[in-house]
Amino acid sequence: MLGWQFNCRPIATKLTTDNYKLSPVAELLTYISFPEWLAYTIAALVQCALLLAIALCSAAVGIWLERKVSARIQDRLGPTRVGGKFGWLQPPADGIKLLCKEDLIPAAADQILFRLAPYISFCAVFCAFLALPFADGWVAVELNAGVFFLVAVMGLEIFGVILGGYSSGSKWSLYGAIREAAQVVSYEIPLGLCVVLVVLLTGTMNLVAIGESQAGWFFNWHIFHDPFTFVAFFVYLTCAVAGTNRAPFDLPEAESELVAGFLTEYSGFRWVFFFMGEYAAMFLVSALGALLFLGGWNGPIPIASLIGLTYENHDILGWLGNSLGVVNLIAKGFLGMTFMIWLRWTLPRLRVDQVISTCLKYCVPIVSAMLAGVMIWCHCLPGGVKSYSFPRSAWERTDPTLRVDGIPDHAVTQSVTMLRSHAEHGNEDYREESR
């Protein structure tokens, strides 16, 4: 189910041998004359492993980052010994220590649910990674409704938390679970609206297309598209922090109020699963924020195209340039995580009523207004500030290709990538078809 099977992109999924960017691994293998079926199989395994590795590594690096950044903020050194320098092996050491701990389940706990909860939580986050593109083509499953899938599946994480809190047989855990339910459900509304705003702007739910639409210099990023998206980005940031239960919204595990919230009775490797899930989710929302607002895998300066790492020059060069995007997105993801860590170690925690009112009184109205603002902006300034032109229909305007290429007369219901790839690679058939 990786890459080439469940691809629902209408026309760009027409995989031609000369323009195949969906699985870079398969692409590379076929390039060095592997048979196609073998290349795909190997690619599937590699991508599966890569995905799990990325999910786990992002969590491990996140934990290390948290320890180091928090230490620096607090005038400490943090881990320095494990692994020689900087304590870079501290997360595995922590993990081994936690795995060796006694497997404790309270007598009052609901045995099955208590055991099940951590897996649900972790699996939900891991599944969300399936739809996360790291660069054009660097995505496990490229879904037509990728962003929808991602947000929806990520939201499943709370089931694990609620189950864990409910089944622990502890009142503090129960409080944590109920708070989680209230908080996450509230914050999914503004979060979803922020996503809708970008979807409206790009006219697609495909994350690859959303990323593609921000190619070029940093002023092509959605955050700089208009004032409304700029504000919406900060609403997204707030909701992302709240959605992952990070301080100042870490009510479900507020250690000074609820001991450890839903984690109170968890220890050892079950706790690790929750923990990994939390850090992987942090990376995920940061990466999603980068994709939606901060140019995705496109750096502020299009270095790859400036130095000629494009498919026009050579396939391998193009592949390399594309892979640079992976570095870009991961860097942005960790930047977002660092921001969350910085917040956590600076701010006190909000109270439960303040958290909910922040959502309902501020986030939702602001993002709704921004959504309306973007609609009006798109209607009045279809080409953005740079190239004002006469108003056209909404669908046309939401297509950034029109801004770039100035082709006004398309039937614009197709996705952006489709248009881009055809504009770039000159697939003449398409223009015939669309007319």
């Binding site: 005038d75 009142k171 503090w172 100042p248 000074s256 303040q354």
Partner: protein, 401 residues
Amino acid sequence: MQADRVKSEVIEYDVRTDEMLINMGPQHPSTHGVLRVVLRTDGEVVSEVTPHIGYLHRCAEKIAEKLAFRQYLPFTDRLDYLASMNMNLGWALTGEKLLGHRVSEKTRHLRVIISELNRIASHLVAAGCMGLDLGSFTPFMWTFREREKIVNLFEEICGARLTYSYLWPGGVIDGPPDGWFDRCLAFLDQFEPVIDELHALLTNNAIFIKRSAGVGVLPPEMAINYGCTGPVLRASGVDWDLRRDGESIYTEMYDGYTWRIIAPIDGRYPDDHPYPPLPYDAVVGDSWHRFYVRMLEVVQSMYLIRQGIEKYNAADGELDKPFEVKKKLPAGEAYLETEAPKGQMGFGLVGDGTATPWRARIRSSSFFHVAVLGELCRGVLIADMPTIIASMDIVLGEIDR
């Protein structure tokens, strides 16, 4: 009555909620030790709070009746272990009151310096813990970093880092080592800007204000009725500080010193400090004011220490030596309250002509501050509980004794 019952039944059919009894403590992270508070909660709202104490009871008063008066001093360290010097001072002064003894000029200034240093240390812990209980870990580390420097100074002077046993009845065993006052001044100089950092991180932080302003408002009448003292009383707008208003044997110590007593009179603080205006939401007597009073008292203590060092160096004479262990207490009674960082610490002694007190009594301020929790926490949210407990700055060592 009947109407009320009918009404409540209707409500229950509407939204049926059960009250839940929750044990907060004795192992809860934000009960400052081993305080156990039983909460009756309806959802997030706390309807009743019952503090249970006694998990750290060590028969402190009884021990005092079995030991020579001077021998008991190390036990006073264990009362308020965050301000051991002030505990030492209280015990020493009570004995001196009973004996009618006055210490030398130099000793008195040293006592001011030491006790005010420890007041800073104790207030730093209070401020850091308040931040911690509101979910902000960093101020805790920052305040402990500064406290560590004070503790280092104390280690130089008496060899201990927590239980100092330094201010003995009658005097001190040994004066400060060479250069100690310079290091003390150096600490104050580098500490002064740190206070601004703490203000930025906590006092003026929007979330901190939201969490603490208007939470746990303690009206002055209630504060007095419940016997609240120290910063808790002053934050309610009562201008009362034993360093000025106490008994002469204690206030004599501060003769010639100038400092301000920090209390919001008519909602205003003495305005000789450069800190920003009060937040809009803050009500006199709430958690924010209790926190703020401590932060300002730290500054006043710094003034006092600077003056004390000047006066100590200018004073003639020698430091007094402590009483000998066998020093007999006269038959009679003495009770003295001193202004410890957490509130008024009272020691009572009944002598019977032997070295061992016939009866000893310890009055700790935190005990009264816990007692008022039941009033303050009625109807607050669970999240406000740690805020209020932290703003009271209780220490279980002196509650349970």
